[in-house]
Structures are given as C-alpha cells and as structure tokens.
C-alpha cells in the first residue's frame, strides 16, 4: 500500500479527531456536562432560615414526593437556657406550611433545614446488596429505581433519616440534589425557591464557586461528624444541640 505525503497529511488529523471522540467516552444526558468536573455539596446558613417551608414545597413539586414523605424538611429547635442536650424539636408536616408562632421566652429558637448530606463515604450505599444506590462520579448519592429491590437496608443505614420507601414504586427514594437540574446548569429546586438564600448549592470542584470563600471565612459544621460519613451539606451557625 502506497500512501502519498498528501494523503498522510489529510489522514493524520482525521485520525486524531476520531481518537479524541473515542477517549471522550459515551455522551451523557446533558451534552455540555462533564461529571469529572464537579463535586457537589450544599451550604445551609442557619442564621438566614426563616422556616417558611418554601424549600419543602418546592422539593415536593419538583420531584413528585408523596404526601407525608420528605426529601428535605425543616425542623424548629427550642433550646432552653439550662438544658442544652434535650432540645424540643418540632417539624409539623415537615415544616411545609411553616411553623406555629413562637413566643419570646426563655431559651432560643432556630430552624434547621435537613436533607440528604450526599456523604462522600455514605453508609447507605455501602449496605445496598444489589448495587442500586451509589455515589455518582460527581458526588451525588442516587438510587437506580429499576435495580432497587425495596429491601430498605439503606433506609435503616442512613444516620440522618433521609431515605424512605416510595409507597407506589416500592423502591428506596431520596434527595437527588436535583440531579436533573444541576446537570443542566440550574440550581436545585429548594435553593431556587429559598427566599433568603439560606440554602446554596455548592460545587466543591469549581474554584470560582463562592463556597470556598465562605468555608474559609466562616465556622461551619456538618451533621453527626463523629460518624465520619464525609457529609457534604455544610451548616453555618449550627447550634451544638442539633442532632
């Protein structure tokens, strides 16, 4: 086979382009989204939460969450002056329609929005017997509905109580960090609907994300740090009484 110099000059770049597309792998649902470029988390600023329940309603609308079950919910803590270890916690209907008026008296009140912590070392994915729940390459803990058996091991394993069995689909269900939104460049439904900016989606792999500046300049905490789950929902101004 004889190939002229002219043919080689044409063929080489073509081969390079073809090889590049092979290296890129299978295209994902969102064409411009690369999983390896992201590592998702969330920032929740307790000092900004007013307990309006917008996040809970937005989440239920966006994700068709059945009534009475929650992917995110808001708790109201009442900690009396001298009894910090046993706070009074309420969350009527997940805080969906707000909270009863609190009268100023002894102790302090504050709201704590809760959701899946999208743990880097998540206990829930470790117990799944069939590989139906997993942490995606961009750091979101997801459930494969077609693979899940509904055994509920993961529901028991989650130390934060963030999972439930979907009453109709009979599979484990949980916060997806609005994966269908964040892969399209949108923020989550709860962040979109939060009127005070108490919730902010954070991309820990994006050096331009304001989360880095915030983490440097504020004291933040994760829930149950003693469990070493690698939780990626960071709470600012979190009181020590929160469990």
């Amino acid at each position: 086979m004889n190939i002229s110099r002219r043919q080689i000059l044409i063929l080489l770049p073509a081969a390079a382009v073809a090889w590049k597309s092979v290296l890129a792998g299978t295209p994902e649902a969102s064409p411009n989204y690369k999983m390896s470029d992201h590592w998702w988390g969330m920032l929740i600023d307790i000092s900004k939460c007013i307990g309006c329940g917008n996040c809970v309603r937005a989440c239920q609308t966006e994700n068709d969450v059945p009534d009475g079950l929650f992917r995110t919910w808001v708790e109201r803590y009442h900690v009396s002056d001298e009894n910090m270890t046993s706070p009074e916690v309420i969350s009527p209907d997940g805080g969906k329609e707000g909270f009863p008026v609190a009268k100023a008296d002894e102790g302090k009140y504050f709201f704590v929005p809760k959701m899946c912590n999208h743990c880097a070392d998540s206990p829930c994915t470790q117990v799944c017997p069939v590989g139906a729940t997993f942490i995606s390459p961009d750091g979101v803990v997801l459930v494969d509905r077609t693979y899940c058996l509904g055994c509920a091991y993961c529901v028991q394993a989650c130390p934060y109580g963030c999972r439930y069995i979907h009453p109709e689909k009979k599979v484990a269900d949980k916060c997806t960090l609005c994966y269908h939104r964040i892969t399209k460049g949108l923020t989550t439904a709860c962040c979109e609907a939060c009127p005070t900016g108490a919730r902010q989606l954070a991309d820990l792999k994006n050096p331009r994300d304001p989360i880095h500046e915030f983490l440097k300049t504020h004291s933040v905490q994760v829930l149950k740090p003693q469990m070493a789950t690698g939780a990626k929902v960071f709470y600012s101004d979190l009181d020590g009484s929160v469990r």
Binding site: G53, T61, V101, G131, R145, H180, R181, L186, E192
Partner: protein, 167 residues
C-alpha cells in the same frame, strides 16, 4: 495411563462443570445490563436516566429573559434576591409556552404572612409583623409593592396609606 483407567465419570463430571460455567457466562451476558460497572458497582445508565427527569422550576434566569420590567422593579428593592418562583411557584411550563400555561398570581394575604409573620424563632434582623395589628385588615399590596416592598417606593397606582411600615 493406568491412573485414568476408571476415571471416565470424573471427566464427564468435569465436562458438566465446564458446560454449566459456559451457560452461566451466557446467561450473565444477557442478564447484566451493559452499563453495569461503567463507573462502579452500579448501572452507569441510571445516572443518565435520573438526569433526564423533567424540570418544573424554570430558574430565575429563564424568567428574566422576558420579564425585564419586573427585574427593573426588583433590582434595588429588598426582594432583589428573592427568586421569581419563590413566590410564583414552579413555572417551567409557562417558560416553555407562555400562552398555554397562565400564571396564577399568589394571594398576598397567605404569601406575605408565610415569611413575615412575627415569630421568636425567626432571625432577629428579618422584617416581621403581626399581620392583624400591622395592616388593620388591608391587603399587603395596598402599601407594599411585592416586587419592591420598601415604602420609599410606593406602588404608583394606589395612594399611599399610613398603615405602618415593616422595618
């Protein structure tokens, strides 16, 4: 070859094992999804399926492409950072086809009270009122323009009444 003199049954048994193993490989090939193990011990295609779920909240950037007038009203006010759908609800259908999905305006009596009803549990700096005492039954929008609720920029089409401010 006296060692294998009476070993015919062992070879048949071994053959059976080989056949069973081949059958296992064939069944496994058809039963295990193609993308299983692509990224880890799970079905890689599940990620794409979850990412393909429908969006219901359009996102404020989409609203802002058309409603520039509201953006101008909002930008200097105290609600500048409140996203459209925080009050107006999920509007992706409307954003896709504004004529088909008409937006229902929220009832301010419920909407405003949800955030601004006074409670000791809310952060101290957040503007809060006792709805009954504050407006004497008047609707909020009599004095406060929801897109720019400060009283220094009153709603132009209604006269300013002295009902007290949410400061």
């Amino acid at each position: 070859m006296s060692v294998f003199k009476d070993a015919g049954h062992l070879f048949r048994f071994a053959g059976l094992f080989v056949l069973a193993f081949l059958a296992f490989l064939v069944v496994r090939h058809f039963v295990v999804p193609k993308s299983f193990g692509q990224y880890g011990h799970y079905r890689g295609a599940a990620i794409g399926e979850i990412a393909a779920r429908p969006v219901k909240f359009a996102g404020h950037e989409k609203c802002e492409t058309c409603h520039t007038d509201v953006m101008d009203k909002k930008k200097d006010g105290r609600h500048a950072h409140v996203n459209c759908e925080a009050c107006h609800g999920a509007q992706d259908q409307h954003a896709g086809d504004p004529s088909a999905a008409k937006v229902v305006l929220p009832d301010t009596a419920v909407l405003c009270a949800r955030c601004h009803t006074a409670s000791a549990a809310k952060p101290k700096g957040f503007p809060q009122v006792e709805p009954a005492d504050h407006s004497q039954g008047l609707p909020c929008e009599t004095c406060h323009q929801p897109h720019n609720p400060g009283l220094d920029t009153p709603k132009t089409d209604t006269p300013k009444t002295d009902a007290g401010g949410a400061k």
